[in-house]
């Protein structure tokens, strides 16, 4: 327990914990009832903290945001820094002492030097003391009358810049909050929620701009990344993930790994010749925070599935830029390049996990600037950062039999389930060990198609997918050598893995499971070194930060509705004993 007056001495360490993929539906505060929650911590804050020392969150400068990767004290970005490595240089907790890791506090609803910013489902934001769990303020978004979203009422965190936090909401708004008070500075409507637009991602904040994508690939939206002015909320530029022209692409017959996708190109071309327009309902959501290369001033993001997910007959062509990694110019939002993993997807095996910037060996062995992505297909893809060309793809992290069997009305089995592979769960990358870490689901499924026309604001899957009786559903944690694509180690888990993973300079990786266990593995070999039972599904990416020379590891145990893991509403924070 911290001394109450010591907390004031720190600079502000920001932690935007995201309850990623976790719809924490069990806590009444999430539902925005009348009850305001007043931060209850596992340990009671001292009286001095509550009365005499109200902590004031500090501003975050652009310099701090730019230098976030080397900053072992703060966790400023949803995925650590603009390159999204989820790697912390903090090494106080390491392979030698992690077995002594103990909970410091449990914040029942929401934590930095420490102010931690925690978001929960239904768009609540909490500012909390990162060492004690004392709540500083709580923002409850007044939800509009219409919301339309897939996959649970999630929120994956805020962006921080200057004196503001930026929150995307289920009713498709972007809200700027004052970091000291949680009061709204401005808000703007991003798109129309009646049409299936919604926000669950943490935005990215950079140089006076806020970048945000949109959900809605299950509703026939037209996806985008937009940039807003951080001071006024005014729209600066929009990049549409579905271009005005040329969505048919190159009529690719093979996926990124050279497997035939069994497309009927002649039938698609005949359909296209009919001239029916579908660009404005072709989907292509951008689910996760974009990655930013400051040097080349490029924004990288993954684009989700075409709409409808499983029925492709009325959306002929490659459906660009769905199921792709896309690069655009940071200043203008103009297209730079794209790489499509699956053309004309009819399995919802799209690209959602956020890209990471790394240095990787090209085919000749020269180290080049690269960008990597973990696919729902269960591969880690390594691209040249300059032109998007695929350098290599990893060994398959999950079983692949039956891949690209076309969906049918009675259902067709593939070992690869529609949740992945790697779902939204962000990967991590350790530059020390030159390994990428991913969590995977192994869920064999049957894929069912049902012809369907645009339903205007209703779920539009064009079919369904189902798990298979008596086929076990499992998961794994995988470490991938980005220079060779080989799996360095893999640990099987008893349940499918959804949430995220974090690597540290203590050569640890931290990740949680649906059964409530939060675990630390040796990053070199996958040996399990520590675990803790959190009481609810740990389906969110962990973070780590330093306050007053002490390293903390925090994770949300909120459960998950996608896989129906036990819901909870706690953030647990761990440290070594004094």
């Amino acid at each position: 327990m911290k001394q109450s007056n010591r907390v004031l001495a720190y600079g502000t360490a920001f932690l935007a914990i995201a309850l990623s993929g976790c719809a924490t539906t069990s806590g009444s505060e999430k539902q925005g009832g009348d009850k305001e929650v007043t931060g209850t911590a596992g340990e009671k804050p001292s009286a001095g903290m509550q009365t005499g020392y109200a902590k004031v969150p500090k501003p975050v400068s652009q310099e701090m945001l730019n230098a976030a990767l080397g900053d072992d004290r703060n966790w400023l970005h949803p995925n650590k820094d603009y390159t999204q490595t989820r790697y912390s240089k903090a090494d106080q907790v390491n392979t030698g002492n992690v077995k002594r890791l103990r909970p410091v506090f449990v914040f029942q609803t929401a934590v930095v030097d420490g102010v931690m910013y925690v978001t929960t489902s239904y768009d609540h934001v909490y500012a909390v003391d990162a060492t004690t769990g004392q709540e500083l303020w709580h923002y409850k978004h007044p939800m509009g009358p219409v919301t339309t979203y897939c996959c649970g009422p999630n929120n994956r965190g805020v962006a921080v810049m200057g004196n503001k936090l930026f929150l995307g909401t289920l009713d498709a708004k972007l809200v700027a909050l004052d970091n000291k008070t949680g009061k709204v500075v401005w808000q703007t409507q991003i798109a129309d929620p009646e049409k299936g637009y919604s926000e669950t991602m943490a935005p990215a904040a950079i140089e006076g701009k806020v970048l945000i994508g949109t959900n809605g690939g299950e509703y026939g939206i037209r996806g985008f990344v937009k940039a807003f002015d951080a001071e006024s909320g005014k729209l600066l530029w929009t990049f549409h993930t579905i271009p005005d022209q040329g969505t048919e692409g190159v009529w690719a017959t093979q996926d990124a790994t050279g497997h035939d996708m069994h497309r009927d190109i002649a039938a698609e071309k005949a359909q296209l010749a009919k001239g029916r327009k579908f660009e404005t309902t072709l989907g292509g959501g951008v689910w996760m925070t974009p990655t930013i290369d400051l040097k080349s001033r490029t924004v990288f993001f993954t684009v989700g599935n075409p709409s409808p997910d499983l029925y492709g007959a009325e959306r002929p062509g490659d459906n660009l830029y769905t199921d792709s990694l896309v690069a655009i110019d940071l200043d203008s939002g103009k297209y730079k390049w794209h790489y499509q993993y699956i053309a004309h997807d009819v399995w919802d095996l799209d690209a959602v996990s956020p890209p990471i910037l790394v240095d990787a060996k090209d085919k000749s062995g020269t180290v080049v600037p690269a960008v990597i992505h973990g696919g729902k297909t269960g591969y880690v893809y390594v691209h040249d950062r300059n032109d998007g060309k695929l350098i290599r793809f990893s060994d398959a992290m999950v079983p692949q039999e039956g891949r690209w069997t076309l969906p049918s009305p009675k259902g067709e089995r593939m070992a690869l389930g529609a949740n992945g592979g790697v779902e939204w769960s962000p990967m991590a990358y350790s530059p020390r060990l030159e390994l990428a870490y991913a969590v995977n689901l192994v869920q064999p499924m049957t894929y069912h198609v049902e012809p369907s026309t645009y339903p205007d604001g209703k779920l539009w899957l064009g079919g369904a997918f189902k798990t298979i009786p008596n086929e076990p559903q499992t998961g794994n944690v995988s470490a991938v050598d980005i220079h060779t694509g080989k799996i360095a180690w893999q640990v099987k888990t008893e349940q499918p893995m959804i949430g995220g993973i974090t690597a540290t300079a203590g050569d640890l990786v931290f990740t949680g499971e649906g059964n409530g266990f939060f675990k630390a593995y040796d990053a070199k070999n996958g040996k399990l070194l520590w675990s803790f039972q959190c009481g609810a599904g740990v389906n969110a990416p962990p973070v780590t930060y330093m306050v007053d020379g002490k390293q903390y590891v925090a994770v949300a145990a909120g459960g998950n509705t996608q896989i129906d893991f036990k819901r909870g509403n706690s953030v647990l924070v761990f440290a070594l004993p004094e």
Binding site: A23, T25, S26, S28, K30, Q31, G32, G33, Y122, D123, H124, K140, H141, P142, M143, P145, V146, T147, T148, Y149, C150, C151, G152, P153, P308, L310, Y311, P409, K410, G411, T446, H448, V449, E450, P451, S452, T453, P455, G457, K458, L459, W460, L461, G462, G463, A464, F465, K466, T467, I468, P469, T561, Q562, D564, R567
Partner: protein, 222 residues
């Protein structure tokens, strides 16, 4: 004998024995958790909807807790679902001899007010027909278990949310009359009902009659 006959003999499992009061409490708790428009500073004015709902009370009950088990419980349903169904009845996307004429004269505002009113009511639990009347439905524990297993396999809660509380345009089906649930699932399966853009048809196509009955018991148990 119908699987929903209240007199059907069944194994009693102490821990699963349900009392009508419990069902109501659970359902009410869920309603407050999931159905109230989340985070809204002030709820919508329910009075206009309450007045307009008097016309519907004969079948759906004054507070949307229908006593006639052919008609669905509307209390605690998501407002978005209710609005879209009324819209679809009016446009003909969803067909019903009863509801098409009932929805025909409604304006968009009428529909939104009705939807807001019913969404704010507390569901009081599923019933089953007994003669001309209805009585609280007692789900069969074995069927509940089988239905639960099937629902996990079919991934229902990916859209219907945990505990089948519903979200947005995807309806709450927890605590619904089992006879109504069975009819809807069969109608989806046969494509008699298609106004959901086909998702439920794709889901229901692989369900047997037995699966559907079991699911109805499970949903009624929530």
């Amino acid at each position: 004998m119908s699987v929903f006959d209240p007199g059907r003999p069944r194994r009693t499992v102490a821990s699963r024995t349900r009392f009508p009061g419990t069902a109501t409490l659970v359902a009410a708790a869920l309603a407050s958790l999931f159905v109230c428009p989340s985070g809204r500073a002030e709820g919508p004015d329910l009075e206009p909807g309450r007045k307009k709902a008097q016309y519907c009370a004969g079948c759906h009950g004054a507070d949307g807790n229908s006593q006639l088990t052919d008609y669905p419980i509307l209390a605690g349903q998501t407002s978005r679902y209710l609005y879209l169904q009324l819209k679809d009845y009016k446009s003909g996307l969803r067909k019903s001899d009863m509801m098409t004429p009932a929805a025909e004269p409604l304006s968009k505002e009428d529909m939104l007010e009705l939807a807001a009113y019913y969404a704010a009511q507390r569901p009081k639990g599923p019933r089953v027909a007994k003669g001309e009347e209805s009585v609280p439905f007692q789900p069969d524990p074995d069927r509940v278990e089988a239905g639960k297993k099937k629902s996990a396999e079919v991934l229902c809660t990916m859209c219907h949310l945990g505990e089948f509380a519903g979200q947005n345009e995807v309806p709450r089906v927890a605590g619904q009359h089992p006879e109504y649930v069975v009819r809807q699932l069969r109608d989806y399966r046969s494509r008699a009902r298609t106004n959901d853009a086909g998702t439920m048809t794709a889901v229901a196509r692989t369900l047997s009659d037995e699966d559907i009955d079991n699911l109805a018991h499970y949903l009624a148990s929530l």
